[in-house]
């Protein structure tokens, strides 16, 4: 186990370096770094001073080392627009995004599991046909358009939910959370549903496939033959076994939920880091873009690592392969 752990850790560090190199090449070599990192309002003298201060007159490999050294210390430049360190700007917005992604993921499991379970247990009933058709639609529907239609229906036509923003927040553990107030919760509901839509379809399909496979297993037949109630067979014997793949895949998908919140946040004006990055790309606030990319890459690698490790705990075959 510890060998496997160590190997995965080394791999993860390798990927972080590879990605930092890609971001570096993207910003410093493909684009013009002077234009990217120095405010367009700067005059000639300021420009030259900044070029020297940033080390842009040095050879490229030396520049990369400097960039890396600063990045390790958490210095990824200052935002032109907000005139604040880019990294702290991203970190301020991160809790809002995490809250949205977390609620969406949990919601997807709460909604998707029972529906998938029903569709798997009664595959030929009309209800499960509707559920499966719905899940195909959930895969095909463009997320951003669904978001607009949700606003259309619930905010404009029915007037039940507020269309944009985050609502009242409560400060717990040093950051603001929306889900603790009624007002905040009502703001959270639509964006979370929008973000969860794809995930719900995924959970439904996974659960259904899992149930149909597990129901044919010998231990299920045996449990039935023993005379256990159908309820107990379903919720103890079958349910436990389908939970493993469902939870792992949802965990893996958590990263892409965070990435996809870019779209949802833009629609619902949710003040998270996804909205920040789109705004930053539109006004060419490049230090923020660099900081966002580095933060999200780091987050992704951490998530992938955690999922891999959880998987090896849940499924002994993965561990044995590493030996």
């Amino acid at each position: 186990m510890s060998v496997y752990l160590l190997r995965r850790l080394i791999q993860a560090v390798g990927v972080v370096f590879a990605m930092s190199l890609i971001v570096f090449i993207g910003v410093f070599a493909i684009g013009d770094p002077v234009e990217i990192l120095i405010s367009p309002d700067a005059d000639q003298i300021e420009r030259e001073r900044a070029v020297r201060a940033l080390g842009l007159d040095l050879p490229l490999w030396q520049q990369y080392l400097i960039f890396l050294g600063k990045a390790v210390q958490g210095d990824l430049g200052r935002s032109f627009v907000f005139n604040e360190p880019a990294l702290s700007l991203i970190l301020q917005k991160m809790p809002a995004t995490l809250e949205l992604a977390l609620v969406a993921t949990i919601g997807a499991i709460i909604i998707g599991l029972p529906l998938g379970l029903y569709a798997g247990l009664r595959p030929n009933s009309a209800g499960s046909k509707v559920i499966m058709a719905g899940s195909i639609l959930g895969f095909s529907l463009p997320t951003f358009w669904v978001g607009l239609m949700l606003i259309m229906l619930f905010a404009v036509q029915l007037g039940w939910l507020p269309s944009t923003g985050r609502g009242e927040t409560v400060e717990v553990l040093g950051t603001h959370w929306s889900f603790l107030t009624w007002n905040g919760l009502s703001h959270l509901l639509m964006p979370a549903l929008n973000l969860a839509l794809f995930k719900i379809s995924l959970v439904i399909r996974l659960t259904r496939a899992g149930v149909r496979e597990t129901m044919l297993m010998d231990y299920v037949k045996f449990a039935r033959a023993k005379g256990l109630s159908p309820f107990r067979v379903t919720f103890v014997h079958v349910f436990k076994n389908i939970l493993i793949p469902v939870v792992t895949v949802t965990g893996l998908e958590f990263g892409s939920t965070i990435a996809f919140s870019v779209v949802t946040e833009s629609i619902f004006a949710w003040p998270g880091m996804g909205k920040l990055i789109i705004d930053s790309i539109n006004v060419l606030d490049r230090p923020v873009i660099v900081a966002y990319l580095m933060v999200i890459v780091l987050m992704f690698i951490t998530i992938n690592l955690i999922v891999d490790l959880t998987y090896s705990v849940l499924d002994p075959r993965v561990r044995l392969e590493g030996k």
Binding site: F144, L148, S256, A259, I281
Partner: protein
Amino acid sequence: MSLAVGGRPAAPKDRVETPFRRFVSEFCESKTALLGLAVFSVIVLLALLAPWIAPQNPYDLAVLDIMDGRIEPGGVSGDGTMTFWLGTDDQGRDMLSGIMYGLRISLSVGAGSALLACIVGASLGLLAAYAGGKTDSAIMRVVDLQLSFPAILVALMILAFLGKSVMNVVIAIVIVEWAYYARTVRGTALVERRREYIEAAQCLALPTRRILFRHLLPNCLPPLIVIGTMQVARAIALEATLSFLGLGVPITEPSLGLLIANGYEYMLSGKYWISFYPGIALLVTIVAINLVGDHLRDVLNPRLKK
């Protein structure tokens, strides 16, 4: 049996069963897939013929009248000469025409970049499988790295580096999608390259390029076609998403995604049609392609053959 086996049969005069005919007859078995194909064909026709059949040229600012802005579906223009079946946007542009022209851009950007990604990905996948060794592990390392990040993030990253433009959206989609093709083709090619016909071609001392593209590639086509269909749908959706975020096509020639984005601000005042109908057009296109792709997967998958 795969779709295209080695050489073609010597031109049969009577109706001999060829792989292609069998494929067609199997494809026609599914009503939903045929429906998907029919709907998709209609959409392609609408897009192709838009300059001749659209009620208005939405890019020609001379025919637009700002006084006709935000007219409800079924409304009539100020001078009474035109009925806007799907309403108009804030510029007084007929939505029906806007959607037809938008489809042109969405389809060409989507299909074009998916095709480009296919060429790049399939070539690299073939090369990886055929060369093996270091070439293989280098290419597949990049594929694995890229597939561990979601498409939207990779696309955002590229657009953040290169800036906003149609060309850059195409580049972004190609970079996002090539890895899927490469992995699929490599998987099939690894099996196929051990077959006798490749050995025979090698014994004939044919050039590597010829073996790759004339012998190996045709036999890797079935999974490539399936993945290609799905990726076209994904490319169209991705282009729409990027355009919606304002990172894609220019505002003067809007694709479906941008049309939807334009309607966003008017939706809060109840003017739903500016965003609604382009979205329906997008949805129908994607669902139609997915229905065809779903059935293609069943028909072309040898493991499902009875």
